[in-house]
C-alpha cells in the first residue's frame, strides 16, 4: 500500500498554498522588501488560498461522503485506458457494486465503519456484536491508562458507544438510510470517525514495540498520522483498528499488471466479519456482491 495518495497530495497542495511563514523571514531578500511589496505578496497568497479553497469545495460538492450503491462498471469506465482498467474485470468476478467514498482523508474509516455497522444491523445476533461492544465499553479505560484525558475523549467515546448500541434497534430495511445519515455529515460523523482514530491509536500505543520498527516513534505517529481529522489511513492504522476491535478487512488492491491483490487482515485464524474494500493507490471504496 503506497503512501503517495491523492488525498495527501491535496493536503500537500493546501499546505503549499498557505503562504510563507515566520520561518523564512531570516532570508536576506525579504529584509529589503517594502511594506507595499509585503502587502502585495500577501494579497497574492490570499488569492491563491481562496482558489485552493474553492477547488476543495468543488471537489466536496461533486462527491458525497458515501455514494449510493453503484455498478462496478462505472468505476471501470472511469479507469478506461488506465493501467488499472483490467483490474475491474477481475474484481467483477467477485463483486458487482461499490459505494464510493469522498476523498477527504477519511475514506478508509468511513467505508470500514459503514460496512461494519451495516453488518450488525443486518445480523444483530452475530456473537461478534457483543464482543465488540465489550471492547468499546472498555476503550475509555484503555485510553485513559495510556494517558488520555477523560474530558478530552469522553464526548467521542459516548457518541460512538451510543450509536453502536443503537444499531440493534435499526430496521434492516433502513440500514443504508440510517448509516448514510449517521456517517455523512460534518457533525456526528466527525466525532464517530475521530473515535475510530483514537481506537487505532490505542492499539498502536498498547503494542508500540510491534509497530515502532515500521512507523518510528509511535506517540508521534499517532499524533500526526492517526489522531488528526482528515489524515488518511495506512496499513498500520488498519492493522491497529481491526485488531483492537477484533474485526477483519479484505482489501482488494489494484495492481499495475491488471490484477487484484487480496490482502486479508488479520491474515489467518479469523472467521468473523470482514469489511470488503477496494484500494486504488491513495483511496478506499466499499465493495458489494
Amino acid at each position: 500500500m503506497e503512501n503517495n495518495s491523492s488525498d495527501q497530495q491535496q493536503q500537500q497542495q493546501d499546505q503549499n498554498s498557505s503562504s510563507q511563514g515566520a520561518g523564512e523571514q531570516g532570508q536576506d531578500q525579504r529584509v529589503t522588501m517594502t511594506q507595499e511589496q509585503l502587502d502585495e505578496f500577501q494579497t497574492q497568497i490570499k488569492l491563491n488560498e481562496d482558489y485552493q479553497n474553492q477547488l476543495k469545495q468543488e471537489i466536496e460538492e461533486q462527491m458525497p461522503f458515501i455514494s449510493e450503491l453503484t455498478e462496478l462498471s462505472v468505476l471501470k469506465h472511469e479507469y478506461q485506458d488506465n493501467k488499472f482498467e483490467l483490474c475491474f474485470d477481475q474484481l467483477a468476478t467477485r463483486y458487482s457494486k461499490v459505494r464510493r467514498l469522498r476523498r477527504d482523508g477519511n475514506c478508509f474509516y468511513r467505508a470500514f465503519l459503514f460496512q461494519v455497522f451495516e453488518h450488525f444491523i443486518h445480523n444483530p445476533e452475530d456473537p461478534q456484536y457483543e464482543q465488540i461492544l465489550k471492547v468499546l465499553v472498555g476503550s475509555k479505560k484503555d485510553l485513559m491508562d495510556l494517558g488520555y484525558d477523560e474530558i478530552a475523549i469522553e464526548d467521542f467515546y459516548d457518541l460512538f458507544l451510543d450509536e453502536f448500541k443503537k444499531l440493534k434497534t435499526i430496521a434492516k430495511a433502513k440500514a443504508a438510510e440510517h448509516l448514510l445519515k449517521l456517517l455523512c455529515n460534518k457533525e456526528e460523523a466527525v466525532y464517530i470517525i475521530m473515535f475510530a482514530r483514537f481506537l487505532a491509536a490505542c492499539y498502536l500505543k498498547q503494542n508500540a514495540i510491534m509497530f515502532e520498527g515500521f512507523v518510528g516513534d509511535v506517540a508521534q505517529f499517532c499524533m500526526r498520522e492517526v489522531e488528526q481529522v482528515d489524515v488518511e489511513c495506512d496499513q498500520p492504522q488498519i492493522i491497529a483498528i481491526t485488531n483492537y476491535l477484533g474485526l477483519g478487512v479484505e482489501i482488494n488492491s489494484v495492481r499495475a499488471d491488471g490484477g487484484i491483490e487480496v490482502i486479508n487482515l488479520p491474515e489467518e485464524g479469523y472467521s468473523g466479519f470482514r469489511a470488503k474494500l477496494l484500494f486504488v493507490p491513495g483511496h478506499y471504496d466499499a465493495l458489494y456482491q
Binding site: Q15, S19, A22, E24, I151, A152, F156, K186, Y191
Partner: protein, 150 residues
C-alpha cells in the same frame, strides 16, 4: 457542533479550576465563552521565575476538532519561539493539534517550553516576522518547526 463545543469547554473550565488551582488562573473573557484568558507564573528556577503571563485562547465552534487560536496577550515572554506580537511557534498549536489535547495540557506544554529555556532571547527574525504576521491569524502562518518544541 456548537452544543458539543460548549459542553466540552464547560468541562475544561472545571478541569482548570479543580485540577490546576494555584497554577493556572482562568478568566472567561467572552459572554459566549469562546474567548478565554489563562494566566500562569514562570516556573521557579527558570529564567522567567515569578513573571506572570497570559495566554489567550479563542475557540471556534468546531473546537476541539479544530485547534484553538492561542497567543500571549499583554507582555509576552522573551523566548526564541515567542514573537513580540504574542504569537507562539509550537507545532501542537497548529499542524500537530489533536482533539485529545485540552486547554490545560496546551498551557502546561507552553509553560514547560518556557521552563526549558536557559537564556531569554527573542526569535532571530522577530522584527520582520511581526510585520509579516500583521493581520494574519497565527493559525494561518506557515510555521517552520525546528525541533520537537517548535
Amino acid at each position: 457542533m456548537q452544543a458539543r463545543c460548549l459542553g466540552r469547554l464547560k468541562k475544561e473550565a472545571e478541569d482548570i479550576r479543580n485540577n490546576f488551582d494555584g497554577v493556572l488562573e482562568l478568566d472567561i473573557k467572552d459572554e459566549s465563552q469562546m474567548c478565554w484568558h489563562v494566566r500562569f507564573r514562570g516556573a521557579e528556577g527558570s529564567v522567567y521565575n515569578g513573571e506572570v503571563f497570559t495566554l489567550q485562547f479563542k475557540f471556534s465552534e468546531d473546537y476541539p476538532i479544530e485547534s484553538p487560536e492561542v497567543i500571549f496577550v499583554g507582555i509576552p515572554p522573551e523566548h526564541e519561539h515567542v514573537y513580540s506580537n504574542g504569537y507562539i511557534c509550537l507545532s501542537t498549536l497548529y499542524s500537530d493539534w489533536t482533539p485529545a489535547l485540552k486547554v490545560s495540557a496546551v498551557t502546561m506544554s507552553i509553560l514547560s517550553m518556557l521552563s526549558s529555556a536557559v537564556v531569554k532571547q527573542k526569535p532571530a527574525n522577530d522584527a520582520q516576522a511581526v510585520v509579516w504576521m500583521k493581520n494574519k491569524s497565527p493559525k494561518k502562518v506557515n510555521w517552520m518547526f525546528e525541533d520537537d518544541k517548535c
